[in-house]
């Protein structure tokens, strides 16, 4: 079924379909789809994707009988179970959870950092059917763990979450995506960091091979704020990680990191984009990938430095290891710089595991397989050892061991 029919038929299930302004915007989006027809040639974000799957989808959404759970187990620590993208409201003196409102959607329309032809974001806006908003109140230090649960097969969930970290607050956010059903989750996180706030954002992705996950995030950082994001992708199904960050006031920082482990026929598309709009900001984009079997991955990184953003430091690094003849990796580390007093660089490497290192380990009596595994672990060691949460560190180690057990 094409997108327009899909939209008309399911209009009543979609958020904000009463709002005229939003309605107009959606009509424009439908026009974009009609005109562009998912032209792969001129749209890099569609590389390696089996489009049919995403265009001719069958829209299905239901609100589950299972309800979401919000627990405040320890002081300043919350765990949330979001079911099919829904989360019930909650309020105390530190955080507030509500449904997303028309105005949250409106605010986002005006943002032009995200490419107009990013069809997955457009689909999200068009079919929006779930989502919530979390506000971390002033000067609080909070930990939140969110488990994103999808209850049924064949669901198409278009979710939008807003996070607002008020002045001086600090949030440690762990998001888990571990679903084993044949559904598609398209989620957009819009994150706003007020003055002097801090957000450590972990995304752990471990879905089964029939589950599609599309995660897009947009964060904007005000004065002295810091956004750190770490993505761990162990999924066997398709995952798209597109993360945009905007440094809009001085002395803010964005750090976007990710590692992905691919095997079989799996594909993963990744993108990070940092826009420096103010002076004295720092950014860092580091992605590492390990590809086995016939896996394919793309990684686009982009640092944009506005004319006003002097004294910028922006770094990018992309590293890929190909374990098999049939794996392929595409990377495009881009720099767009309009200011002169900057330090920007990127590095990118793709290759096999270093033969000399293997030789060294084998000469010490190790089997080839064991040597390979050790070298893969050391390749990502920096990312793993920087996790300060013991429980999470253990969980990721387990997943790594599971991945390595399939490496020959």
């Amino acid at each position: 079924m094409n997108i327009q029919d899909n939209f008309i038929k399911n209009k009543k299930n979609i958020f904000f379909s009463e709002n005229k302004y939003i309605q107009n915007h959606r009509e424009k989006l439908i026009n974009i789809f009609e005109n562009d027809r998912f032209d792969k040639k001129n749209n890099e974000s569609l590389k390696n994707i089996n489009l049919k799957h995403f265009i001719d989808f069958k829209y299905k959404y239901l609100i589950s009988e299972e309800t979401s759970v919000i627990n405040s187990n320890q002081e300043n620590s919350y765990s949330i179970v979001s079911v099919n993208g829904q989360c019930s409201s909650f309020k105390d003196d530190k955080i507030e959870i509500t449904k997303i409102l028309d105005e949250d959607y409106n605010d986002f329309i005006k943002n032009d950092t995200i490419d107009k032809n990013d069809h997955f974001v457009n689909l999200n806006s068009l079919f929006l059917n779930s989502g919530f908003k979390i506000i971390i109140k002033k000067n609080n230090n909070i930990k939140i763990k969110i488990s994103n649960i999808i209850t049924d097969d064949d669901l198409t969930i278009f979710q939008k979450n807003n996070y607002i970290c008020e002045e001086g607050s600090s949030l440690n956010l762990i998001e888990e995506y571990e679903n084993k059903n044949n559904s598609t989750l398209n989620i957009l996180n819009v994150i706003r960091l007020e003055k002097n706030s801090k957000l450590n954002h972990f995304l752990i992705q471990d879905n089964s091979s029939n589950h599609n996950l599309i995660v897009t995030s947009h964060s904007s950082c005000k004065k002295d704020s810091t956004y750190t994001q770490k993505v761990y992708n162990f999924s066997e199904g398709y995952v798209r990680n597109f993360h945009y960050s905007e440094l809009i006031e001085t002395n803010s920082e964005a750090d976007l990191q990710g590692i992905f482990f691919l095997k079989d026929n799996n594909t993963s598309n990744n993108k990070t984009f940092v826009k420096h709009s103010a002076e004295d900001c720092k950014s860092n984009q580091v992605y590492k990938g390990i590809l086995n079997d016939r896996a394919k991955a793309t990684y686009f990184s982009n640092t944009y430095v506005d004319q006003l953003a002097q004294k910028t430091e922006g770094y990018q690094l992309s590293k890929g290891i190909l374990l098999s003849d049939n794996a392929s990796y595409f990377s495009k580390p881009e720099l767009k710089i309009f200011a002169d007093d900057v330090k920007c660089s990127h590095g990118s490497t793709i290759g096999p595991i270093d033969e000399n290192a293997i030789f060294y380990l084998r000469s010490r009596g190790m089997s080839k397989n064991a040597a390979t595994k050790i070298l893969i672990s050391s390749f990502i060691n920096e990312e793993l050892s920087s996790i300060d949460n013991e429980q999470m560190s253990e969980m990721i180690q387990k997943k790594l061991v599971r991945y390595l057990s399939k490496v020959k």
Binding site: L322, L335, D340, D341, V342, C344, I350, G351
Partner: protein, 483 residues
């Protein structure tokens, strides 16, 4: 700013684009515009055989269906292809002059101004020149000695007449006419250019060179160069470009094809100094060039070196297709943009064969209000076992109104291939500047010295004759925008 700097700036501002003179010679042109008539006119003027005309017309019909590639980071008004003269020859040139005494003295004067060693004593310097003045090749020096070795070095027009077999076999084999709209345009209307064939086992004893110059107003120059290096041969080819100063934008869409067979090596160096437009961004050349080399045989090597200082718009990606096993591709580039210039340049290395290697060194310098983009693609195909690439692209920004951009595409489909890419962008190091100033250099001189040092890796790849000129060009290009 001290008085010394002001003086230097003053002298620089007087010393503008010194190649911006116009030689007044009667030109013979067809009507403006592009249509089948124009192409037939060109073909007729060049006395071409039937098959060549067919080839051109086929390319033209392809061009009609194509759109200009729009992906480059360039901003310019649409080109009106019907407002351009597609052929321009000094009158009375249907018959070629036999030696220099028959050439119009004004022409010789022009070349003297350009500093081309056409005259006898300069020929001793060992450069054989095939001069292209607008669209017709004027004189080819040093031909005799080359002929003895079996080297063919002539204009492409002559080659179509005399060596149709080679032309039929190789023309369009690396850049098919239907590749993109500029290659189709060039294939339809190309007027002149050089043809080089180096026979098996011959090492060309001198550097071959062509000097292109757009003289007539409103003419596009569409030259076509084809270089074939047969088994085990070697050739080094130089290309230099200047154009007079005019307010209109002129179009230059060249195609250069290189073919290196087994064990052959081609070194292609360019110093491009087309008129870049004035301080307000008026006028200047639109330079849309397709250059591609094919390493067809085993152990072959193609090396591109370019110094790009001119043109209002540069759209140029000299690339290598590394098809033969163990073949090597190299790309060294310096691109300097000033005022309102825009450059989108880089390379494409396609690794097909085993053990193929490529190296890319690109240095971009942006000044004034210019935009400088490096765009390069490195791809390893499935069978490119143990292929290797190293890429380094650095950008230097002078002033806060310019932009420097890096857009590399890296694609690996082979797990034994290794690819390394690094890039950095920064401004001139204050410490280095301070050090030079302390040693008594003026600000201008210090910047020039540092920029030359920044480009050294590339400049040292140029043949002797060009290296000196290129260094001077680098300094001139920095004029007026430093301090």
């Amino acid at each position: 700013m001290n008085s010394e700097t002001l003086n230097t700036l003053d002298s620089y501002s007087k010393n503008k684009y010194k190649y911006g003179f116009v030689t007044e010679i009667d030109n013979e042109k067809p009507k403006k515009g592009l249509n089948e008539e124009t192409i037939k006119f060109i073909s007729l003027k060049k006395n071409e055989p039937e098959w060549m005309l067919d080839w051109r017309l086929k390319a033209y019909s392809k061009w009609k269906k194509m759109k200009e590639p729009k992906w480059a980071n360039l901003n310019f008004p649409d080109i009106d292809y019907q407002a351009i003269y597609y052929y321009s020859a000094p009158k009375g040139f249907e018959k070629k002059p036999k030696d220099l005494s028959e050439v119009d003295p004004k022409l010789i004067e022009t070349y003297n101004k350009l500093g081309i060693p056409l005259e006898e004593q300069k020929v001793l310097a060992g450069v054989a020149v095939d001069v292209v003045f607008d669209s017709v090749s004027v004189a080819t020096t040093y031909k005799g000695q080359l002929e003895k070795l079996g080297i063919i070095f002539c204009s492409i027009g002559e080659a179509i007449q005399k060596h149709p077999d080679l032309i039929k076999k190789y023309l369009g084999s690396v850049i098919p006419p239907g590749d993109h709209s500029f290659s189709a345009l060039n294939s339809a209307v190309f007027t002149d250019g050089s043809f080089v064939y180096i026979p098996e086992g011959v090492k060309c004893p001198m550097e071959l060179s062509t000097y292109f110059r757009i003289n007539a107003e409103n003419t596009g120059q569409f030259e076509r160069t084809l270089i074939i290096a047969d088994k085990g041969s070697y050739v080094s080819y130089l290309e230099g470009c200047t154009a007079p100063k005019r307010d209109d934008n002129q179009l230059h869409a060249a195609n250069v094809e290189l073919i290196a067979l087994e064990d052959a090596e081609i070194k292609y160096s360019t110093v491009q100094n087309w008129y870049p437009g004035d301080e307000d961004g008026k006028g200047g050349i639109y330079n849309f060039v397709t250059k591609r080399g094919l390493c067809a045989g085993k152990n072959s090597k193609i090396s591109w070196t370019q110094v790009e200082t001119g043109s209002a718009i540069t759209w140029k990606y000299p690339s290598c297709i590394l098809k033969g096993d163990n073949s090597i591709g190299e790309f060294y580039s310096v691109a300097i943009t000033n005022n309102f210039q825009q450059a989108d340049t880089g390379t494409k290395m396609t690794h097909i064969g085993k053990n193929t290697k490529s190296k890319i060194i690109s240095k971009g310098i942006s000044l004034g209000k210019s935009q400088n983009t490096y765009r390069g693609e490195v791809s390893f195909l499935r069978k490119a076992e143990k292929a290797r690439n190293y890429t380094q692209c650095d950008s230097l920004l002078v002033g806060n109104q310019c932009g420097a951009h890096t857009v590399p595409y890296i694609d690996s489909k082979n797990n034994t291939a290794i690819i390394e890419h690094e890039a950095s962008t920064s401004k001139i190091n204050e410490d280095q500047l301070y050090y030079c100033r302390q040693r008594g250099l003026s600000h201008e001189e210090a910047v020039s010295l540092i920029v030359n040092g920044f480009c050294k890796q590339v400049l040292q790849e140029l043949p002797m004759e060009f290296a000196v000129e290129a260094q001077k060009l680098v300094s001139i290009s920095l004029e007026g925008s430093v301090g």
